[in-house]
Each structure stands twice: as C-alpha cells, then as structure tokens.
C-alpha cells in the first residue's frame, strides 16, 4: 500500500543473494573487497539493546537475536548470543552467527494460499533445519 516499497517489508530475493548481504554483516561490513559498513557500527546495531532493563526484549537495533532465558525466540537452541538475523511473515528466515561463521537462509511462501496457515511455526521447520546445521558442525568435529 506504499507502492510496493516499505521500510518494514517489500524486498524480494533468492537465498543466494540474501546470503551475500548476511555474509557482509558477518564479515564485519565488507564483501567482495568493498567496505559497506564500519565494524563498530555493526557491533552496535547487532547487539541486544534492552537486555538489562527489559528481560523480555531480546532485540538488537533492528536485528532479531536468539531467545533470552525463559522466553521464546526465533532460533534453535544453543546458538551463540552474538548471532543475529530476522524472520519474515511469509515463512522466511535469515541468520548470521559470527561464533561459527554461519549464514543460514530459509525462504518459503507458507502463506500461499492462506496466511492463516501456521504449520511452518508449529512444526518448527526453520529452527529444526538450523539445528541440523549446528549438529552437523558438532559431528564434523568429533
């Protein structure tokens, strides 16, 4: 309703291209030999902003963060608190984890044909897949 452009929604992408952006964030602001953002700025924006005052608010400045103790969150268990990303109502998720140097992107059109379809969340698809990645890393180190 804003002509297809919003600060909150409106971007379309495939996983590969979105991953490049997440990798740039993960790299501390560089990709392909170009600096896009200062690493100090990224550090400030990707850390939890109100964790001390407000136990329920896990969010960074715009970026989502893993759950806090006792509250729900967008990621699988055991993921580093340094990680950040965001999910989307259409059934999407993009997550970057500096501690394991991982970028994870899941895209779907879960709201086809109906936005009432909540199975994606009920089945924990996005987080279960994320868990597989971390389990695989662990197994690889064994």
């Amino acid at each position: 309703m804003l002509g297809g452009v919003g600060g909150h929604a409106g971007i379309f992408s495939n996983a590969n291209d979105l991953a490049k952006l997440m990798q740039m964030y993960l790299n501390g602001g560089t990709y392909g030999g170009i600096r896009y953002i200062k690493d100090t700025t990224l550090n400030e924006f990707t850390k939890c902003q109100f964790c001390y005052e407000e136990k329920e608010n896990r969010r960074a400045a715009g970026f989502d963060k893993p759950f806090l103790q006792g509250y729900g969150g967008p990621t699988c268990d055991g993921i580093s608190q340094t990680s950040f990303g965001h999910s989307g109502f259409t059934g999407t998720m993009a997550w970057a984890d500096p501690s394991e140097d991982i970028v994870y992107v899941f895209l779907s059109n879960r709201i086809y044909p109906s936005a009432e379809n909540r199975k994606l969340v009920k089945m924990d698809i996005r987080t279960n897949i994320q868990q597989v990645i971390y389990d695989a890393i662990k197994k690889g180190k064994e």
Binding site: M1, L2, G4, V5, G6, G7, H8, A9, G10, I11, F12, S13, N14, A15, N16, D17, A19, K20, L21, M22, N27, Y31, G32, I37, E44, F45, Q49, E54, E56, N57, R59, A61, G62, F63, H86, S87, G88, T90, T92, A94, E100, D101, V103, V105, L107, S108, N109, Y112, P113, S114, A115, N117, K119, L120, K122, M123, A136, K139, G140, K141
Partner: protein, 862 residues
C-alpha cells in the same frame, strides 16, 4: 648429485630439429659411447631400493618352492582382462590362469562391481594369488565407469602445491586396494616436449623436467604409502615424438647426453625415491639401444644396461603391452617374449601368446641365452612384490558398499581442489580479474562448444547478472548478429569447451571461434577461459588481445565451476603453465590472482561438515511440503564464507505445476527490515547522518508536527521494538466499502493519480501513502515495553529517504548492485518474469487474487 646435462630443462617446441650433418656426428658418438659402456658413476644413487625388497622373503620363498619350472615362467606373464566382455573372454582368462598359471591380470574397460566379481573369481581359481593392475593415470576412471575421475596429468602439472598430488596418490591407492588392484600404471613421467605428441601429450605433467619429476614423486609416494605399486612410464621417455607406439615404433634421435639430462631425469628421481615398478616403452632410441630399429623394450642395453646397471633400478620392470605394433610388428608372438625377457624385463605384459612365450623361453634357456636361475630370480621378485601388496594375506573384494567406498565425498573434495589449484591466468590486463565494481558491468557470457548453458555459465550467475549465449560451434561467416548483440555489453566472458572424454580427443579451435575473439576484443573487454588442452593456444594469436585469459586445461565440471569462481573472486588462481605455446606464453607463466572475499561455492566437507550430516535438512524441508506448511522452499547454508548447501524443494503452488528453483525470488517480508532499512541506517550512521541516540524529530520534522509526541520517540527504542508503538494498523480495512474496494482510493487502471500497483488491475491513489502516515500519527503511543511493531519502520523509510536524498528503493538497489545481489530488491515484477516469483497469499478478502506483490496486509509479528 645428478648433474644437469648440457641442455637446459626448458625447450621450445621443435627446437631440436637436428640437421642431417649433426645427426651423423651424433650417431658416431653413440656408437663409441656403447663401445665404452655406460658410465655408472654419472647417476648417483641415494635411496633406490623399493619398499617391497626391504621386507622378509618368507612367504615368497614358500610359494616359490611349490612351483614347477613352467609355473615359475607363468608368473612372469600379466594378461589383459575386461569386465565388459562375454563368456568367451572369461573362458580364455580362466584357461590362462588354470593352464598357464599366469602371474597377473591387467584390467581394461568395464565397471567396478563387475570387475570385483571377476577378480574374486579369477583369484579363487588361481594357484598363486594374482597381481592385478590397471592403467589408472587419472584414477580408475581411465578404465572404469562410476568412479572418481581425477584431472589429467597435464592439468595437475599446473598445480604449485605438490602435497595435493601426494594426497591424490593416496586416494587413488586406496581406491585401487578397495577394488583388489595392486599396481597402478601411473604416473606418466614422460616429458611432453612435442606438442604434436599423439599419445602422451596431456597425460604428461608438462615439458619441465623438474616439475614432471616432482609431481611424479608425489603421486608415486602417495600410492606406495598404502602399498599400491606406482609405475613410472614410459621408460626411457615417450615425450618427444609425434608417433604413437601402439601403431608403430617411434624414433627418438637425440644424443645420449640430451636423453640423460632430460628424458631420464624424472625416472632417475623416482627411482631414488623408492619407485617400485617401471614400464619400458616401445621406442627406437639409437642413442640408448646402440642400434637402429631396436625397440627399447627388447634392448638389453636399455633394460639392463641403462635402467638396472646405470640407474640402479631394482624394482619390477614391466614391458609395455607386447601386442602393440611397436614390437609385435618386429617379431612373432613368443619370440617377442623371449627377447623382452633377455633384455631384462620382469613382467611380460599383454603377451601375444602365453603358451608360445613359455615354450620359447624354455628353448632360450636350453640354448643358454638366459639361465633358469635368472628366470627364477625374476619369479621370486614378482612374488616378493605380491607379498608387499598384501597377497600373502589375500582377501576377496567385498562387494557390499563398494560403490560408496570408491566414491567417498573426501575423494571428490580433493578432486575439486585439484581443479581449482590448476587454474592458470595468463593475462590480466588492467587488473580486470577478479571482476570488480559489479554495478558498472554489463556482462554477457558466450560459451562455445557445449550448445547449452554450461556449468561455467551457471556458476557465473551465482555472482551477478550475466546474460548467457551459447553455441555448439562458430562458423566464420554467420556470426554478425551474435557479434552485434554481444558488443552491447561492456564485459564479455567467453569460454571454449572441448571434449573431456579423454586426453586424446581433438582440441582444435575453429577459425570461427578465433575470428569471434578477434572481433570482440576490438571494442570490448573480453575474459577468455579455455577448457581445453593448453596446446590449443598454439597459433591462436587472437588471445593476445583479450583482457583476461584463463586456462582451465580440461572441460570437467569442477574446472567449469572453479573458473567461474575465479573470475568473480570466489577463489584464487595460483597455477603455472606446464608447457610453452608461444614466446609470450612460456612454461612457468601464471599470474597470481587473489580472491576478493566473495562467496566460494563448494562441498560441505571443505569446512569440515559431512554432507550426510546435512541430509536431515532435506527431510525436514520435504516434511513441511507434505504436511502442507508451504508448497515450496529454498535453503542455503554458508560457513567460513563458503556456500556449502543451496537447495530448493517443492513447487510454487500445491498444484505442483512449477517446481521451485534456486533462482526463484521470494517475498522475504520482514527480513526487509535488516536488508533494506538497517543496511541504509548503518551506512547513514557511518556518514554521521544518523544516530541511534537521536529522536525521530531530529530527522523527520517535516512529517511529524512539533506538537506530536511521535517526535520524541527514540530511534534505538523504535528499532528494538521498545518505543510503545502499537503492533500494527489494519489500513486496508478502511479502504473497503461494502466488501468491495473503495473506488475513490483504488482504480483498476494505472494513472498519475493512481500510480501504485497493489495487485493485478488494482492501483492505489497517490495520496494514500500520506494518509497512512497521518493515520499512524493520530494513533496512540503506549507504555514503553517490548512490542514488535512495523509502524516504526514506516518512519525509517521516510528517514532514510530524507537523509540520503534518494528513494529507498533506489538507494538499496545501488548497494545490492555492487554486491551482485541481482534478485534482491523491491517490486520484482519490474525486473523479472513473474514465473520466478512463487505467489504469496491467495487473497480472498482484500485484493481477491493470487498475490505476487509485496505482502502488506495483516503483516504482524512472525
């Protein structure tokens, strides 16, 4: 130490045309050289005892004692077996094993499982366990299907890290062992000096003797580390000829000094590193044989004098196949075998007739041309080799899991690394590689030879928008239209693809292709990648006008993927040209290209993750589809800057009409917050045009009246959903009257007043966005506590546009372009076919159609 001869290691092709006069003189020198015997001290020995001669002889001795004199002669024969032939062949081999007690089999074409069954069968009926061999220069795939196909040795010749070659040797050794094979007739250590060599050529590591020797040693040591015999061939050097010893007896008319210093060098090196076996070629080398038209295989001067006495080789000596024209045209079957044996060979490969061979050898013993003790000694040497190969504890090949064991993921990972490490950059004008400033490039790719979009082109597309063109072949005259189209691009990536079937296939580049390169390079930047034999560049002067020139040596999938990644800076280039093709491009040329920190696309094993351990992703993704959680999805995982998993599952819709592809474009909804808004805000902060510690009023005084409490909202609070903004406002409800879209707000045609598309045939008033902001500003601000809200991001768009002076859509599009994020952006229908966009809601309430536009209504916490 072994001294270099008078001739330098590096040769121009055809530099050694010897004039008749010189030839006569050199022939005289040769004759006198042989009169005075070869000077032994010239070849200093360091460690020339092969490992199989350093072990106990107990088993070999005990077997030897059970053999009759004829059976001892039988051990010297190794015959060819196929796993793709019928019952007659099987019977023939059974006869050779049962009746003639042959010592071994060389397996030719076929498949691994069939071969395993045959090996088990033949071993079972053999009195003494058989020594099994294969020509596996680029792995078992040289003969067998369904196994790992490593690069040809010429490709490996470009690699600067010989450890990779060693690891390949280990892996090939393991694969041989797993399939019951004990000898691999590799490496080829011929120095390919003649570009027209019809049979060695790309099977050689190149024209530099040090490079050939070092890589040969690495390959050999790798295999022998797992008790598989390496075999250096084709002694004393098949590299400088334009003839094929399968068809005739090639003549090499070099002096002994030249042969000693060049051709012999790699053999010398391998022998002094514990080489276990060697293969003698059928060549006419008067300088060594001491006579003309005497095959080296049958020459005592060569096999005994040169190889054993001078070079000190103590390992197993195999003849090249005795049925090849190079020797079979000289003598009858049987006679050839005797001559080879007398010359000093241990193993008689692919005899024309074992029966006649044994008969003639017995006759020769009677005639005193060779003693029985000598024959027995060779039999014992073969048995000792068998003991080292593990045949003293023979076990049948386990068929269960054979295919998986022969095709381990680690093998393929190394194979990929070998292709990457071989990439050689011969030109890089203006530092064009890796491609930079993607936002300024309009790139076309022209693939010649495949007639389809090549893996090379597919990989290019992972990095940027690249328009693909491909042709099977270019005829010189019919290319005007293609040329015109290509010239509209400022960067053209041309690739030449030749057959990857085997190194003997033609690699000739057509005049049509050459003309195209010439025409394109006149006005455009051309990056050319050649997936073909490096000698294809001889006489291809047009390459000198290219901006970037990459040699990938062969047209394997790994080479295709690697070269594309090199062009975009996903991987480095470290290879050096293993041969010379012109004055400009000599052996050793190769520019180092550093990667540009863009994604590399590879196997998960490269980052220490097993693909198998990631496979639950597939089942989870598929379960979501079967349970109706979504019709299709895309999953990507990158670790350490490397994409290790990128897959699509399902369809665009549940009616399964169109499968989803990795290139499909999804509505990412709220990920927009971090991929557009936050990207912009962080950059603005770097430029001093934004601060998390400011309030909205600091940037949006025009939009927000001084009196509004919205101006006091802190940006940090807004972005962290802590500002008290309500979750959302159902704007769309106010635009519906009597269950229909309000026709003051919407129009079915686009116009100046109704510019914004909401859906097919639904356009919204140009005033509506302002109305939205007014409605938000009229709304309440609640208690400052955590509440996910989109509303703040409506203001962020305005803020970004105010501070950048650009539309948000355009501002982020410019950034995405520099990163090669081709698909990412707002309003994809303006840039892409709708086929690539999986639909979101089938909206029955508001827009009443299947939606491929931004999903705006009822967006809420997710």
């Amino acid at each position: 130490m072994y001294r270099l001869g008078v001739i330098n290691a590096k040769f121009e092709p055809m530099k050694f045309k010897i004039t008749i006069g010189v030839l006569l003189v050199s022939m005289l020198v040769i004759t006198s050289a042989f009169n005075s015997k070869i000077n032994n001290s010239q070849f200093k020995r360091i460690n020339d005892t092969p490992p199989f001669l350093e072990e106990s002889t107990a088993w070999a001795d005990s077997i030897f004692k059970t053999l009759t004199p004829d059976e001892r002669i039988g051990q010297l024969f190794m015959m060819a077996a196929y796993s793709n032939k019928g019952a007659d062949h099987l019977k023939r081999i059974e006869g050779l094993i049962k009746n003639n007690k042959i010592g071994g089999l060389i397996f030719m074409q076929g498949g691994p499982l069939r071969q395993a069954e045959l090996i088990n069968h033949y071993q079972k009926i053999s009195k003494v366990p058989l020594m099994v061999s294969i020509d596996g220069e680029w792995g078992l795939a040289m003969r067998l299907d369904s196994v790992v196909k490593y690069p040809w040795q010429m490709t490996l010749g470009a690699i600067q890290d010989d450890q990779l070659i060693y690891e390949m040797g280990v892996d090939i050794g393991e694969q041989c062992k797993r399939l019951g094979i004990h000898v691999n007739f590799a490496p080829v250590v011929d120095i390919n000096i003649n570009p027209k060599n019809p049979i060695i050529n790309a099977r050689s590591f190149g024209e530099n003797k040090e490079n050939v020797a070092n890589k040969g040693v690495a390959y050999m040591k790798g295999m022998q580390s797992v008790n598989v015999m390496a075999n250096a061939k084709h002694f004393p050097g098949h590299g400088d000829t334009d003839k094929d010893s399968h068809k005739s007896l090639p003549t090499i008319n070099h002096t002994k000094a030249r042969m000693d210093s060049v051709e012999l060098y790699p053999f010398y090196k391998l022998i002094n590193n514990g080489l276990a076996s060697i293969m003698v070629a059928h060549l006419n080398i008067p300088a060594y044989a001491g006579e003309d038209n005497m095959a080296t295989t049958l020459s005592k001067n060569v096999v005994t004098g040169l190889l054993q006495d001078s070079l000190g080789f103590k390992g197993l000596i195999f003849t090249d196949a005795l049925n090849m024209k190079g020797v079979s045209s000289l003598f009858e079957p049987g006679i050839v075998d005797v001559k080879a044996l007398i010359a000093g060979n241990d193993v008689l490969l692919f005899s024309g007739s074992v029966k006649k061979g044994i008969l003639e050898i017995n006759k020769a013993i009677e005639r005193g041309e060779i003693t029985r003790e000598e024959v027995d000694a060779r039999c014992l040497k073969i048995l000792r080799a068998k003991q080292w190969e593990g045949l003293d504890q023979y076990k049948a090949v386990e068929k269960v899991g054979l295919s998986a064991d022969l095709n381990k993921r680690e093998y393929e990972l190394l194979n990929r690394k070998l292709s990457e490490a071989s990439l050689t950059v011969l030109k890089n004008e203006g530092d064009i590689l890796p491609l930079k400033r993607l936002d300024t490039l309009r790139i076309a790719s022209l693939s010649i030879g495949e007639g389809r979009v090549s893996e090379f082109q597919q990989t290019l597309s992972l990095y940027n928008q690249v328009d693909h063109f491909n042709v099977k072949e270019l005829e010189s005259k019919k290319n005007a239209r293609l040329l015109d189209t290509l010239r509209t691009y400022n960067t053209i990536i041309v690739s030449i693809h030749k057959s990857n079937k085997n190194p003997w296939k033609s690699y000739k580049i057509s005049s049509g292709t050459k003309n195209m390169i010439a025409n394109l390079t006149m006005k455009n930047n051309v990056v050319l990648t050649v997936f073909a034999n490096p000698y294809s560049l001889i006489g291809f002067e047009q390459i000198e006008q290219t901006a970037g020139l990459i040699i990938a040596y062969q047209n394997s999938i790994y080479a295709n993927e690697a070269a594309a990644q090199l062009i975009f800076g996903g991987i480095a280039a470290n290879g050096k040209f293993p041969v010379s093709v012109s004055e400009k491009f000599e052996e050793g040329t190769g520019l180092i290209i550093k990667p540009l920190n863009r994604f590399k696309y590879t196997a998960p094993e490269e980052v220490g993750i097993r693909l198998n351990d990631l496979s639950p992703i597939d089942s989870i993704a598929k379960s979501g589809i079967s349970e109706g959680a979504y019709p299709g999805c895309q999953v990507l995982v990158a670790k350490n800057g490397k994409v290790i998993y990128n897959k699509s599952f399902g369809y665009h819709t549940y009616d399964k009409k169109r499968a989803v592809l990795n290139s499909d474009i999804y509505d990412i909804a709220s990920i927009t917050k971090i991929s557009a808004s936050l990207l912009s805000l962080m950059r603005l902060q770097d430029e001093g045009k934004f601060s998390l510690d400011s309030n909205l009023s600091a940037y949006l005084s025009k939009l927000i009246p001084d009196s509004s409490k919205y101006g006091d909202l802190g940006l940090r609070e807004i972005l962290a959903h802590q500002s008290g903004l309500q979750a959302w406002v159902p704007f769309y409800i106010k635009t519906i009257r009597n269950k229909e879209l309000d026709n003051i707000i919407y129009c079915k045609d686009s116009s100046t007043y109704y510019p914004y598309r909401v859906a097919q045939d639904v356009y919204i008033s140009k005033f509506y966005p302002d109305i939205i902001y007014q409605r938000i500003l009229r709304g309440p601000i609640k208690e400052k506590k955590y509440k996910y809200s989109d509303l703040g991001y409506y203001f962020m768009m305005k803020l970004i546009e105010a501070q950048t002076g650009e539309r948000l859509k355009d501002y982020v599009a410019d950034i995405y372009a520099t990163m090669g994020m081709t698909t990412t952006g707002y309003i994809p229908r303006e840039r892409f076919s709708l086929d690539r966009i999986p639909p979101t809601e089938n909206d029955k309430i508001f827009r009443k159609q299947v939606i491929k536009e931004m999903y705006t209504i009822r967006e809420q916490q997710c």
